[in-house]
């Protein structure tokens, strides 16, 4: 199992949990709602794991799914029936359309992080809809879910707006949403994104020698018959004693230290958020600015001049 599969295995549970939680809340017995969700999950998984590869099929499928979720809502208003439930199920499963970008080969780290964050945001929205009270007398489970989703979004926008204007502050819905299971699964998904970075590689994503990758024993250099290549004794000796790619022997894993520092930063922020929630956000923003300034400083510093040395 390679890095991609590990990441997929670690990332999948979080959105799956959120989707299942919504289905259990709204449409346990609503088969069309469930079918819509499973349809998107199946298609997203098929493209993510390479069962559907041709770009035409991939993009045609994505377009069809998006249209199936947007057109009925946008053009025909809200109606009842199995077709609408199917559409609602599709809306619920939308994160699986972009989930593959979290582990996809060739996706940049930035794409992976944003794809994960968008998935977690959608999961959070799903979970928030469970706490919204909607009319249950005339609507199906799917419709309840979409109505709840719209309410959550509206409440969130109102809350953010009131915070920005400072008038009659109301707590935004998403700020108050906290599902311990989802948080745990989200943390695992984050590990799935970050941990592959710790496997040493160059900027061109070429693997660097690492003990954990089974490169501990370097093969001895092969040498042709000296008569064949006409080398002098000194040249042969230089070749025989040349250095081969050697993994680190005194360091457990290069980059692990930075990972620990990042973990400590997260713990510190969590502690601050619990002890002094008023300052947590401000600290985060200031910390981000400080980090960016530090990066800029490191990148701009001219340390050692090139060239002009003895040979």
């Amino acid at each position: 199992m390679n890095d991609r599969w590990w990441t997929a295995a670690l990332v999948y549970p979080a959105p799956l949990y959120a989707g299942i939680a919504v289905i259990l809340s709204f449409g346990e017995s609503d088969m069309a709602f469930l079918a819509g969700f499973l349809l998107v999950v199946a298609f997203g998984s098929a493209t993510a794991f390479g069962f559907v590869r041709h770009p035409i099929w991939v993009w045609a499928g994505r377009l069809a799914i998006v249209l199936a979720s947007v057109v009925p809502i946008g053009y025909y208003g809200w109606a009842s029936g199995p077709f609408v439930d199917l559409t609602c199920g599709i809306v619920l499963g939308l994160p699986f359309l972009w989930l593959e970008y979290v582990w996809r080969e060739g996706a940049t780290p930035g794409t992976r992080v944003v794809a994960l964050q968008a998935t977690l945001l959608y999961g959070l929205l799903d979970l928030a809809t469970r706490n919204v009270s909607v009319s249950t007398s005339t609507t199906t489970g799917g419709e309840q879910y979409v109505q709840g989703l719209v309410q959550v979004l509206a409440h969130q926008v109102t809350g953010i707006g009131s915070l920005l204007t400072g008038t009659a502050p109301t707590v935004p819905t998403l700020e108050a949403t906290l599902d311990p299971v989802f948080v745990a699964l989200g943390a695992i998904a984050l590990m799935g994104v970050v941990l592959p970075w710790v496997s040493p590689h160059t900027a061109l994503e070429e693997r660097l020698p690492w003990n954990w990758m089974g490169r501990g024993s370097s093969p001895s250099p092969g040498l042709l018959d000296p008569e064949l290549v006409g080398l002098r004794t000194g040249q042969r000796s230089a070749l025989e004693t040349r250095t081969l790619p050697t993994p680190p022997t005194t360091v457990l894993a290069p980059g692990l230290g930075s990972l620990l520092v990042a973990g400590l930063a997260v713990l510190a922020f969590l502690s601050l958020a619990v002890l002094a929630p008023t300052f947590a956000l401000l600290t985060l923003v200031l910390g981000t600015v400080a980090a960016l300034l530090t990066v800029a400083l490191v990148l701009s510093r001219r340390l050692v001049s090139h060239g002009g040395l003895r040979a």
Binding site: A203, T243, V266, V298, S300, G307
Partner: protein, 441 residues
């Protein structure tokens, strides 16, 4: 002056942008958990960059003691060369290092590698060594060695270079069997073959006068009334050969790697090798608009080595070839009657060519010009239209060459045109002609 600064890789830049994007999403939700994701990413990137900065502080050429050793400076085109570099870090900090020794594209690495990616303890020495096979004659440069320190997460790197360039001359293959040479002071078969009694200038012995002898050769001081002696002189069985190479810019005609100059060197090498095997003396003169190099007449394996090295050094000059000047330069340096074999495209033949050739002939030298057929220097296109276009482009060049050939022939020089791929066969025939006394091709 460039500096060794940390370069943020696309991976690192993307991670920062991704972290900021995630932060934006987190700020829209104000959810604690969604704020932790960008925090973790940005903290990781920042910590890694700071850690890499610390590990590579002082990274630069001064951070290494280095030495090239066991490096070939002259390689035969059918042989192999070796490069080795010892590198001792003095910065003392462990880091991933990539050492790369750039070599010309015409070098094919057959053993070892010019690139090493390894973990460096910061103190242990590293050794880069590899063997290459050259695919083209000429002077080439290896290095400077580039060292890159890699951040283990691929977010950044830092590069420096060592001023340790190394020049390698790739020579054509010109070998002379030791068995064909004659030990000094000993007259062997080869020497006997080379020298015979004739009309040369070097005194050999006295013999009794015979009625058919030239009266001017009578040694009057040694003769008496009862016996008259005549002087015998040695005649070189083969005159000396001067290989003259046009290295002007016109010799760049042809496809890369097989230009007219390379074809000429191929032919000249063959003549030199075979002539030296026959114990003849071969000189080399390269000329563009002025004299580039002159190698005096050489014999035996040592002479072959000198000529080999000189052939390796031949390079195109950024100036046109001046035949009259080249012939004058040759004339200044030649003492005995010599066969001058000139390899040239005869493009841009300017100046008093006729006078120079006449002057040369009056001194007893003979000029033979080998000129490649222009169309044979280029591959024939399969497409008729492309062939027609190429023919159209070649026409003025061919006309110029034909004019040059006519001028030289009128001046009394022998000019041989040859299809470029057959240069070795033609060169062999030319040598046979020279050794047979030069009764005109």
């Amino acid at each position: 002056m460039a500096s060794s600064r940390i370069v943020l890789s696309p991976l690192g830049g993307s991670a920062i942008v991704g972290g900021l994007g995630a932060l934006l999403i987190g700020l829209v939700t104000l959810n604690l958990f969604l704020l932790l994701v960008p925090l973790a990413v940005l903290a990781l990137v920042t910590a890694e960059l700071l850690s890499f900065d610390r590990a590579t502080r002082g990274f630069g050429p001064e951070a290494f003691r280095y030495q090239r050793f066991e490096n070939s400076s002259q390689v035969r085109i059918d042989g192999v060369g070796s490069m080795a570099l010892d590198l001792e870090p003095v910065h003392g900090r462990p880091v991933y290092l990539e050492v790369f020794d750039p070599q010309p594209e015409t070098f094919e690495v057959v053993l070892g590698s010019p690139r090493l990616v390894t973990w460096s303890t910061g103190t242990d020495p590293l050794r880069l060594a590899y063997v290459y096979r050259p695919r083209q004659r000429g002077r080439f440069r290896v290095g400077p060695t580039i060292i890159t320190a890699h951040d283990p997460l691929g977010f950044a790197f830092r590069m420096t270079k060592l001023e340790n360039r190394w020049d390698v001359v790739v020579t054509p293959s010109l070998s002379v069997e030791e068995a064909t040479t004659v030990p000094p002071g000993q007259v062997g078969s080869a020497e006997a073959y080379r020298r015979r009694v004739g009309s040369g200038t070097e005194f050999r012995s006295l013999r009794e006068y015979q009625p058919a002898d030239d009266a001017r050769k009578i040694a009057w001081r040694r003769s008496a009334l009862e016996k008259i002696y005549v002087r015998e002189h040695e005649e070189e069985a083969h005159p000396e050969i001067l290989l003259m190479l046009d290295t002007g810019w016109e010799m760049r005609l042809g496809i890369p790697g097989q230009e007219a100059l390379e074809q000429a060197i191929d032919g000249a090498t063959l003549i030199a090798g075979q002539a030296i095997e026959r114990s003849d003396r071969v000189a080399l003169l390269t000329h563009a608009d002025s004299l580039v190099e002159y190698v005096p007449p050489q014999r035996g394996p040592e002479g072959a080595e000198q000529l080999t090295a000189a052939f390796g050094r031949v390079a195109l000059a950024p100036s046109p070839f001046r035949l009259p000047k080249a012939l004058a330069a040759a004339q200044e340096r030649l003492s005995a009657p010599t066969f001058i074999v000139l390899f040239s495209t005869l493009l841009n033949l300017e100046g008093a060519v006729e006078g120079a050739v006449t002057e040369l002939r009056s001194r007893g030298h003979r000029l033979l010009v080998l000129c490649p057929e222009v169309e044979s220097l280029f591959p024939t296109p399969e497409d008729p239209l492309a062939e027609e276009t190429m023919g159209f482009a070649r026409a003025p060049v061919q006309l110029q060459v034909e004019r040059g050939i006519a001028r030289l022939r009128d001046a009394g020089a022998a000019v041989v045109t040859y299809p470029a791929p057959s240069v070795r066969e033609v060169a062999g025939e030319i040598l046979s002609w020279i050794t047979s006394g030069g009764s005109g091709p």
